[in-house]
C-alpha cells in the first residue's frame, strides 16, 4: 500500500512538471473533466463503439432534464461489457448500454447493475423483456443476425438464394458462405446460437460438420467478413470479394442503400429470413453509479418515443417500444424476420463457453 501512495505522490510531482506544458495544447478537450462530484449535472453513459444518436435528440434531452450527457465508448460489445465488469466497484459512468442477450448473464452474475424500472417499461413489447422480477436491465433495441446474400451473384448464376439453415449445407451453396469466429465476434456467436436453437443441444455439432464440409469460411471479425469477403457489400465489390453469402445483420441491406451515393432503387443484398437469430440489447443503471438520479433520467429517455424513433437510422437496429417508427428503408429492404431463433439468456449462460469451445475445435482446428 505504501508503495502505491509513493507512486501516487511521484505522479503528482510529475503532473506538476508536465501539465502546464500540456494544457497549452489540449485546452479544447478538457471541458468536462470536473464532473465526478455528487449532485453533478453530468450523467455519463458507458457504451460500445456502435452507440450513436442524433445530435438534436440528445440536445433536447439535455435541455429538458438539465443534465449534460457524456458518452464513453469502450470498444466492441464484448470489450465494453468486460471493462464495465472490471471497473464495477468504481464505475466510469452511471448508465451502461449495449449488453446483449448473449452476454447478459455475465453482466448480471457479476453484479454490474442495480435495480431500476424506467418509465415506459410497460410499453416495451413483451417478447423483448428480461429480468422482470428484479428490473436490473431494460431492453432498448433489437436486431436480427441473419445470412445476407448478394443478389447480383444469385441472379447471374440463376440460383435461388438460400432461405434456411438447411439450405446452407446443400451442394448448390458450396463454398459460398463466410461467417465470423464465434469466440471473438458477436454475429459469429449469434449464428452459432441460432443453429443450436434450431438443431438442439446435441444436433448443432452435426450441422456444423456438414457446413464445414460444404466449405464455410470463418474469419475473425464482422469487418473482414463483410467488407473483404462478401461480394455483395460496397467494400467487398471493391476488394473483388467472392463469397456471396455472409453472416451479418438484417439491417445491413438498408445500410447498403442509405450509405450509397447515388442511392440505388433497390438494395444490392437480401436477407435469408430463415437463418436469423434475435439479438436484444439492454441498458441498466450501474451499481455504485455516482449520479444515479441522472442515470435514471437517461434510462427513461432511452425508452421515450423520440429516442426509439431516432435509434434505427443511427445504430441500425429496431426499436423495442410499441408503436415506435421503423424507417421506410428498413421496412423495404431489411424487414425483421417473422420467426427468428431465440434463446433464453439463462440457457445461453449455461452453455455459451462450452459450445464455443467445442465449436472452435470442430470448425477451426
Amino acid at each position: 500500500m505504501s508503495t502505491t501512495k509513493k507512486l501516487a505522490a511521484m505522479a503528482v510531482g510529475l503532473g506538476l512538471v508536465t501539465l502546464p506544458v500540456l494544457s497549452a495544447c489540449g485546452s479544447s478537450s478538457d471541458s468536462d473533466s470536473a464532473d465526478s462530484g455528487a449532485g453533478s449535472k453530468t450523467v455519463t453513459l458507458v457504451s460500445h463503439d456502435s452507440w450513436a444518436v442524433s445530435k438534436s435528440v440528445l440536445a433536447d434531452f439535455e435541455k429538458q432534464s438539465g443534465y449534460k450527457v457524456r458518452v464513453l465508448k469502450s470498444g466492441d460489445a464484448g470489450q465494453a461489457v468486460n471493462k464495465a465488469i472490471l471497473t464495477k466497484d468504481n464505475p466510469q459512468g452511471d448508465v451502461f448500454f449495449g449488453v446483449d442477450n448473449t452476454l447478459l448473464s455475465r453482466a448480471l452474475d457479476n453484479g454490474l447493475f442495480q435495480s431500476y424500472e424506467p418509465k415506459g417499461s410497460d410499453l416495451v413489447m413483451p417478447e423483448y423483456r428480461a429480468d422482470e422480477d428484479k428490473h436490473r436491465v431494460t431492453p432498448i433495441d433489437t436486431g436480427d443476425i441473419c445470412v445476407n446474400y448478394d443478389k447480383a451473384y444469385f441472379s447471374k448464376h440463376k440460383l435461388t438464394p438460400p432461405s434456411s439453415f438447411d439450405d446452407l449445407v446443400k451442394p448448390a451453396y458450396k463454398n459460398l458462405l463466410v461467417t465470423e469466429n464465434a469466440a471473438t465476434s458477436s454475429p459469429g456467436l449469434g449464428f452459432l446460437l441460432g443453429t443450436a436453437a434450431q438443431y438442439g443441444d446435441d444436433g448443432w455439432p452435426d450441422y456444423w460438420k456438414k457446413l464445414k464440409a460444404n466449405g464455410v469460411k470463418v474469419v475473425d471479425g464482422w469487418e473482414q467478413a463483410y467488407n473483404e469477403e462478401f461480394s455483395g457489400s460496397a467494400g467487398g465489390k471493391k476488394a473483388g470479394a467472392d463469397r456471396p453469402l455472409v453472416v451479418s445483420y438484417a439491417s445491413s441491406p438498408p445500410a447498403e442503400v442509405i450509405f450509397a451515393d447515388p442511392k440505388p432503387s433497390t438494395a444490392p443484398t437480401g436477407v435469408a429470413t430463415g437463418t436469423c437469430f434475435r439479438q436484444v440489447e439492454y441498458a441498466g443503471l450501474l451499481s455504485n453509479a455516482k449520479n444515479a438520479e441522472g442515470g435514471k433520467a437517461l434510462l427513461d429517455f432511452m425508452l421515450t418515443k423520440t429516442f426509439q424513433d431516432d435509434m434505427p437510422m443511427n445504430m441500425f437496429v429496431y426499436p423495442v417500444r410499441e408503436a415506435a417508427q421503423v424507417p421506410e428503408e428498413f421496412v423495404k429492404y431489411g424487414p425483421q424476420a417473422k420467426d427468428p431463433e431465440t434463446m433464453d439468456p439463462a440457457k445461453i449462460a449455461d452453455n455459451r463457453d462450452q459450445w464455443v469451445k467445442s465449436w472452435t475445435s470442430l470448425v477451426l482446428k
Binding site: Q79, R106, T184, V218, D220, Y226, A239, A241
Partner: protein, 575 residues
C-alpha cells in the same frame, strides 16, 4: 527503427572517451558524487513516469488475474502451460517471428546495401517512403495488405495466387512493416564504413567474397544482429497483422492475450500469458543490450556522403533494379490500393463526406479526427521528449553502472507488452484520486508517449554519449552549473537529434492504435480510431471514408518523415 539505427552506429570518439573516464576516476571524488546524484535526480522523473503509467497498471491487471482472495494462484501457470492450444500458440509465435526475421533480412539487406552505397535520384524520398509502413496503424495495413495478397489482389490477377489464408500473408506483412528497421539500422552503419578497407584487402589479394566476408561482414555483424533482434521483437509481439491476416486459425501470444482479456474474459490465463511474453521480451532485450555493448569497439567511420556512388556495372544496376521492384511491390503497392479506393467516387465524394457530421458515429465530422490526432500527437511528443530526454541525459555516462544500464533496457519494455494489458491496467489502476485519469483526455497522449519514449531514448543516447566528456568537465571547471553545462555544451550538439527524436515520437503517436482505441473519447477520435470505426459499419460511404482517412493518415506520416529526411539529409559527421 532509428532506435536501433543510431545505437549501432559506433562513434569515432569512443577511444578518447575511455581516456576521459580514466582521468575522471583519478579526479575529485566529491564532484563525481555530486554528478551521480544529479543524474539520479534526472532519472527520477522517467522512473516515476514508467512506474505509474506502465509498471503499476500492468502489475494491477496481472494481479487481478492471478490473485484470488488475496492468495497468488501460481498453479494457474502450469495449468495454462499444460494446455495444448496455448502451447501451439507459443510455438507458432516463436517460429513465425523467426521466419519473419529471416525473410525480412533476406529481402531488406540488399536494400540496406543499395541505400548505403549507391547514389540515385530520389533516394531521400524513397527512404522516407520505406519508413512510412513502420508508423502506419495495423488496421490500415491489414486492409491494404489483403488488397495485395488477397483475392483480386495483384498476385491473384497475375498468377491466380492467393495468400490471404496462409502464413505467407503474415510473413510478407511483417516484411512490409520492418523493412525500414533493417535498411536504417544496417544501412546507416554500412554507409559510414570506409570502403577503402575492403579495397585494401582486395589489393592484398583477397577475392571479392573473401574481402567482404573478412572485412565488411564482421564490421556489419553487430548492426545486423541488432536489427534482427528488433525485427524479432516486433514480430514476436505482432498483433494487428496476425489478427487481420491470420484469421481465426493463426494466433500469436499477443493476439491470445487480447482474446483472453477482451473477448473471453479469462483474466488468469491472460495474466499467465502476459508473464510469459514479458519473460520472452525481457530475454530478447537483454541479448540486444549485450550485442549493443559488444559492438562498442571503435570502427573507422567516414562521412556517409563520401561512400555512396552512382551504380557501376551490370551487377549493381541489377541490384538497384531488384531493390526498387521489391520496394514497389511490397511497400508501395498495398497502400497505393487504399489510395486508389479512396478516390473511387465521383468528385472526391469520400473526402467530401468526411466533412459532414450527420452520420452519428462520432458526434463530430470525421475530418476533425485529423485535428485531434495532431493535437494528441503534439502532446504525446512533448511528454515523450521530456521523459525520454531526461532518461537519455541521465544515462549518458556509460560508467554509470549496471543498474542504470538495466533501466536503459527497461525503457524498451512497453514496446513488448500488449496494449490491451496496458489499457485494462489503466482502467483498474488509475481510478482513484489523485490519479483518476480513466476518462481524462490526457490518457491518450500518455499511452502514446509510452511507445514514443523508447524511440526518443534510442535516438538521443548515442549522440549524447558521443559528446566529449572533457568539454563538460571544462565547462564545470570554469564554474558552470550542471544545467548551464547541459544548455551550453550538450544542447547545441544534440539539437538535431532532439528534432529527429521528436519527429519519430510524433509519427509513432499519430499511428498508435492499440492503446488509443481503448481510451479515445467518442467526440475526439484519432485518425486510426476513426478508420477502425468506419470500417466497422456497413455501406459504401463508410468504407470509402475509411479509405480516404487512411490516405490522409499516410500522407501526414509521409510528410513528417520527409521532414526528418531533410534534417538527416544535410547532416555532417556521424549522425
Amino acid at each position: 527503427m532509428d532506435l536501433a539505427r543510431t545505437e549501432v552506429t559506433p562513434r569515432k570518439g569512443a577511444g578518447k572517451r575511455k581516456d576521459a573516464g580514466k582521468r575522471k576516476n583519478g579526479g575529485e571524488r566529491k564532484g563525481a558524487a555530486k554528478s551521480v546524484a544529479a543524474r539520479l535526480g534526472l532519472l527520477a522523473v522517467p522512473v516515476a513516469f514508467f512506474a505509474v503509467f506502465f509498471a503499476y497498471p500492468v502489475a494491477a491487471i496481472v494481479a487481478r488475474g492471478l490473485k484470488a482472495d488475496g492468495v497468488w494462484q501460481l498453479g494457474r501457470i502450469t495449468d495454462v502451460l499444460g494446455d495444448a492450444g496455448i502451447r501451439h500458440v507459443l510455438w507458432f509465435t516463436t517460429w513465425q517471428a523467426l521466419a519473419s526475421t529471416a525473410l525480412t533480412l533476406l529481402i531488406a539487406l540488399p536494400g540496406a546495401y543499395v541505400f548505403a552505397r549507391l547514389d540515385f535520384p530520389g533516394k531521400h524520398v524513397l527512404r522516407a517512403v520505406v519508413t512510412v509502413p513502420f508508423v502506419l496503424p495495423t488496421v490500415v495495413v491489414g486492409t491494404a495488405f489483403l488488397a495485395l495478397v488477397g483475392r483480386g489482389g495483384l498476385l491473384d490477377e497475375l498468377w491466380g495466387l492467393r495468400l490471404d489464408t496462409t502464413v505467407w500473408a503474415i510473413l510478407l506483412a511483417h516484411v512490409f512493416f520492418n523493412y525500414a528497421v533493417v535498411v536504417r539500422t544496417v544501412g546507416g552503419l554500412w554507409s559510414q564504413l570506409d570502403p577503402r578497407q575492403e579495397e585494401a584487402a582486395r589489393m592484398l589479394g583477397a577475392s571479392r567474397i573473401a574481402a567482404w566476408r573478412k572485412v565488411t561482414l564482421p564490421a556489419l555483424g553487430p548492426a545486423v544482429a541488432a536489427a534482427a533482434l528488433m525485427v524479432f521483437l516486433f514480430t514476436f509481439t505482432s498483433f494487428g497483422v496476425v489478427q487481420i491476416l491470420g484469421g481465426p486459425t493463426f494466433s500469436t501470444l499477443e493476439v491470445e492475450i487480447y482474446r483472453q482479456t477482451s473477448e473471453i474474459f479469462d483474466l488468469s490465463t491472460a495474466a499467465v500469458l502476459t508473464l510469459i511474453q514479458f519473460a520472452a521480451v525481457g530475454a530478447v532485450l537483454a541479448v540486444h543490450a549485450w550485442t549493443v555493448r559488444r559492438r562498442e569497439t571503435a570502427l573507422r567511420l567516414v562521412d556517409a556522403s563520401t561512400t555512396a556512388r552512382r551504380p557501376r556495372g551490370a551487377g549493381q544496376w541489377a541490384l538497384l533494379a531488384g531493390v526498387l521492384v521489391s520496394v514497389a511491390l511490397l511497400l508501395v503497392l498495398p497502400p497505393a490500393v487504399l489510395v486508389q479506393r479512396s478516390f473511387d467516387a465521383p468528385d472526391f465524394g469520400y473526402y467530401r463526406a468526411l466533412t459532414s457530421d450527420d452520420s452519428g458515429i462520432f458526434l463530430v465530422a470525421p475530418i476533425e479526427a485529423i485535428g485531434n490526432s495532431l493535437e494528441y500527437a503534439v502532446v504525446a511528443t512533448v511528454i515523450a521528449v521530456v521523459i525520454g530526454g531526461l532518461a537519455a541525459a541521465a544515462l549518458t555516462r556509460r560508467d554509470a553502472g549496471r543498474l542504470v544500464r538495466g533501466f536503459d533496457a527497461l525503457l524498451m519494455l512497453p514496446l513488448g507488452v500488449s496494449a490491451v494489458t496496458v489499457g485494462f491496467g489503466f482502467l483498474i489502476a488509475l481510478d482513484e484520486p489523485p490519479l483518476d485519469l480513466r476518462s481524462s483526455w490526457i490518457l491518450v497522449p500518455l499511452a502514446q508517449a509510452l511507445v514514443g519514449v523508447p524511440f526518443v531514448v534510442r535516438t538521443m543516447l548515442p549522440v549524447l554519449r558521443a559528446v566529449d566528456e572533457r568539454l563538460r568537465e571544462a565547462a564545470a571547471v570554469l564554474g558552470a552549473s550542471p544545467w548551464r553545462v547541459w544548455r551550453e555544451v550538450d544542447l547545441p550538439m544534440v539539437r538535431r537529434a532532439l528534432l529527429i527524436a521528436a519527429g519519430f515520437a510524433f509519427a509513432v503517436s499519430l499511428g498508435e492504435f492499440g492503446a488509443t482505441v481503448f481510451i479515445a473519447r467518442p467526440d475526439h477520435p484519432t485518425l486510426p480510431v476513426a478508420v477502425a470505426r468506419l470500417l466497422g459499419r456497413a455501406g459504401e460511404l463508410n468504407y470509402g471514408q475509411a479509405m480516404a482517412l487512411s490516405t490522409i493518415l499516410m500522407v501526414v506520416c509521409a510528410v513528417a518523415l520527409l521532414v526528418l529526411e531533410r534534417l538527416r539529409g544535410d547532416r555532417t559527421g556521424e549522425f
